[in-house]
């Protein structure tokens, strides 16, 4: 007696098809070695009595679910003449894998594509003729529900059965299956023999820490608390070092450089001392804070806590069209926006990638941090300093969330969110030093490239034409400031600050250097001079603008490269400029209105 087995993935309408073919003649069969009952029916096909067996639906021949074991056992112990493989047309892209697995084992096959009507409605068209040629087996579209295409299936089955002399050889199929399974089995055997894995991981430490840090209600407050303490630590430890270094660099100039350049022409000493030295020294004083910052960042990154942050924040991020990974990238952006934007490569869907890229430039990077530390030190009382900086971090998050919410409909996210949670690792001292020094090198390389050129240009603009008094309205810088005055006056930014803002477009490291050059001062003298010219409301407005508008040329170039879209790059620039102006305007005008 000939034997045909019906095989397919679950929920493809296999039982419907079986019932349609077998009529009422189905009975529960008893098969060697199989404890589960299989339905079988005897039908008349091309003059033969043929036994039709309904095998359970499976996803994968190599799986270990009960159904998959049953099918595997059946095929390796019972010879068959033909397999009728039933796939769901609407999911053919995924389900073909099962067919190919079976084909590789050498089974004679008729492929029936069910739910042809549904596929048609979904706009899926399958060229059965060319698919049939490519697979070298009959392919027929059917509707098991309505019986369409059924006669064709039976006809194709009859033809194959009549040609086919021998049944399949279960032993050779078992052998082939085994070969395919070999890698998986070998892996399992190796692990079983040489590796001991407890049923539940007994890494108690990670579990204990997670119990607290991933706590339903305490997790998020603890995370933000930890971040606040870390930034506070950087500030309290770093600020005195920065002040000390600035003082030393000032002393170096007064004691050594001023006498050295005393005999040189006025323009040369101006360029070298008021220009390059003042500018570079002011920026250089911040290097210790940056080093400290990156050391702490790399410790947090390597510890495994960032993936936990993704876990805690995902539900909130999902409401903004982002996911937990976007949040991690935003946090990375607090170090430097450029690697954070490149980090979005782990995302596959373009929509969520673009949305994340639009958001990252708003995170308060270390370059902006030095501008804020500098200005806060100059214009805020020490007891208000921490609060002012904290407000800027809050503002950074706020603008990121606002941007995501406003643009989430443009960039609809369909990306699945799956992430591995590594065990907590305490980074070794060597790791911290390596990571830290790498970041610092990157920063210095970036800074030195732009700063020297930048401060020279600022010096030129604010000292020429030579007839004008330095930094006055008659200089080129003054004229540029006047030109932008209608735009910048309403947000309280005077023409000195305007020049710094324009150069900050290239890199934020230039901003403090530019201020030093524009005022022709350095260290405490510079801070005192600024405090006499602008008040804290203007300073805050300036910092808000600096926080929100385009971070630097490198970030723009990275956005262009990663998005491969010039239009998207311009969108990012235009949006951040507009948002920066609006936020500064609202802050400045309402502060003034309230009488500050």
């Amino acid at each position: 007696m000939k034997r045909i087995a019906l095989l397919g993935m679950p929920n493809t309408g296999k039982s419907t098809l079986f019932n349609r073919i077998s009529g009422a003649s189905a009975r529960v069969g008893n098969w060697p070695g199989i404890t589960v009952d299989l339905l079988s029916a005897k039908i008349l096909l091309g003059g033969h009595i043929v036994e039709l067996i309904d095998l359970p639906g499976i996803y994968d021949l190599h799986g270990f679910s009960e159904d998959e074991q049953v099918v595997r056992h059946f095929l390796t112990h019972n010879p068959v003449d033909l397999l009728v493989v039933l796939l769901n047309s609407t999911q053919i892209d995924r389900q073909l894998s099962l067919l190919l697995q079976l084909k590789k084992l050498g089974f004679p096959i008729v492929l029936a594509l069910n739910m042809a009507d549904e596929a048609k409605r979904a706009g899926i068209t399958i060229n059965t003729e060319s698919l049939s040629t490519a697979l070298a087996l009959p392919v027929i579209q059917i509707s098991a529900k309505y019986g369409d295409g059924l006669p064709k299936v039976l006809q194709a089955a009859t033809e194959i059965i009549n040609q086919q002399q021998a049944k399949t050889n279960p032993q050779s199929i078992a052998l082939l299956l085994q070969e395919e399974n070999e890698i998986e089995h070998e892996m399992q055997a190796l692990v079983q023999r040489h590796v001991q894995i407890p049923a539940t991981l007994n890494d108690d430490t990670t579990d204990k820490i997670d119990k607290l840090l991933l706590h339903k209600w305490l997790g998020l407050p603890l995370f933000f608390g930890a971040m606040f303490i870390l930034f506070q630590l950087i500030f309290t430890v770093g600020a005195p070092i920065q002040e000390g270094l600035a003082w030393i660099l000032d002393l170096f100039r007064a004691q050594l450089l001023d006498p050295l350049f005393a005999g040189t022409p006025h323009w040369l000493s101006g360029l070298m001392l008021d220009g390059i030295y003042n500018g570079v020294a002011t920026v250089a004083a911040f290097v210790p804070i940056i080093i400290l910052f990156f050391l702490v960042m790399s410790m947090v990154e390597d510890s495994g806590y960032l993936s936990r942050a993704a876990f805690l924040m995902d539900a909130i991020m999902a409401k903004m069209g982002l996911d937990g990974r976007s949040f991690v990238m935003m946090l990375m952006g607090f170090g430097c926006n450029v690697p954070a934007i490149m980090g979005t490569r782990i995302m596959r869907s373009r929509a969520i990638r673009l949305l994340t890229m639009l958001v990252i430039p708003l995170s308060l990077c270390s370059a902006r941090l030095q501008v804020f530390i500098f200005i806060i030190a100059a214009l805020f009382a020490p007891k208000h300093a921490a609060l002012a900086l904290f407000a800027l971090y809050v503002m950074s998050f706020f603008t990121m969330f606002l941007t995501a919410v406003l643009f989430q409909n443009q960039y609809k996210n369909t990306e699945p969110f799956i992430l591995e949670l590594p065990p907590y690792r305490f980074p070794t001292f060597r790791q911290i030093v390596l990571r830290g020094s790498h970041e610092v090198k990157h920063f210095l390389n970036r800074a030195s490239k732009f700063i020297i050129l930048g401060v020279m240009l600022v010096w030129f603009l604010s000292n020429f034409p030579s007839t004008a008094a330095p930094a006055s309205l008659d200089t080129y810088a003054g004229k540029i400031g006047l030109f932008f005055a209608p735009l910048l006056d309403p947000i309280g930014i005077n023409h000195e600050l305007a020049i710094a803002l324009i150069f900050g477009f290239v890199a934020k490291e230039i901003v403090v250097g530019a201020l030093a050059v524009i005022y022709g001062l350095q260290g405490d003298a510079l801070m005192a001079q600024m405090a006499s010219q602008i008040d804290w409301v203007q300073a805050m407005s300036f910092m808000l603008f600096t926080l929100i508008y385009t971070p630097c040329l490198s970030t723009i170039a990275t956005i262009r490269n990663e998005s491969k879209s010039t239009a998207f790059m311009w969108l990012s620039i235009a949006w951040s400029l507009a948002l920066a102006w609006i936020v500064s305007f609202v802050f400045y005008q309402s502060a003034r209105y309230l009488g500050f």
Binding site: P10, Y59, D60, G63, F64, S65, E66, D67, E68, D93, R94, I197, A199, T200, L201, D210, L214, K216, W217, G219, L220, S307, A310, F311, L312, D314, A315, I316, A318, D323, G324, R348, P416, F417, I418, L419, E420, L421, P422, P423
Partner: protein, 75 residues
């Protein structure tokens, strides 16, 4: 039929099937989601956030929408 998304924290189960497109399927299998493997639910984040699943030595977090694609038998 039960889905991974229906399990509560502390429950254990065996994966019976994975229903996902090719990308998700490969990602899942790379992280250890294979048919027949046991797993346990560690916790779920607040506000309907992701669930944390432990497979052997690997901890994975995934959203409920992805967990819905994983069929399981609770044990």
């Amino acid at each position: 039929m039960q889905f991974l998304s229906q399990l509560k924290a502390g429950q254990r189960a065996i994966i019976s099937a994975i229903e996902a497109d090719e990308f998700l399927f490969h990602r899942l299998s790379a992280l250890g989601f294979r048919v027949g493997r046991p797993l346990s639910i560690m916790r779920q984040a607040n506000f309907g956030g992701p669930i944390q699943v432990r497979l052997g030595t690997t901890d994975v977090i995934l959203r409920a929408s992805e967990a819905q694609r994983i069929h399981i038998n609770a044990i």
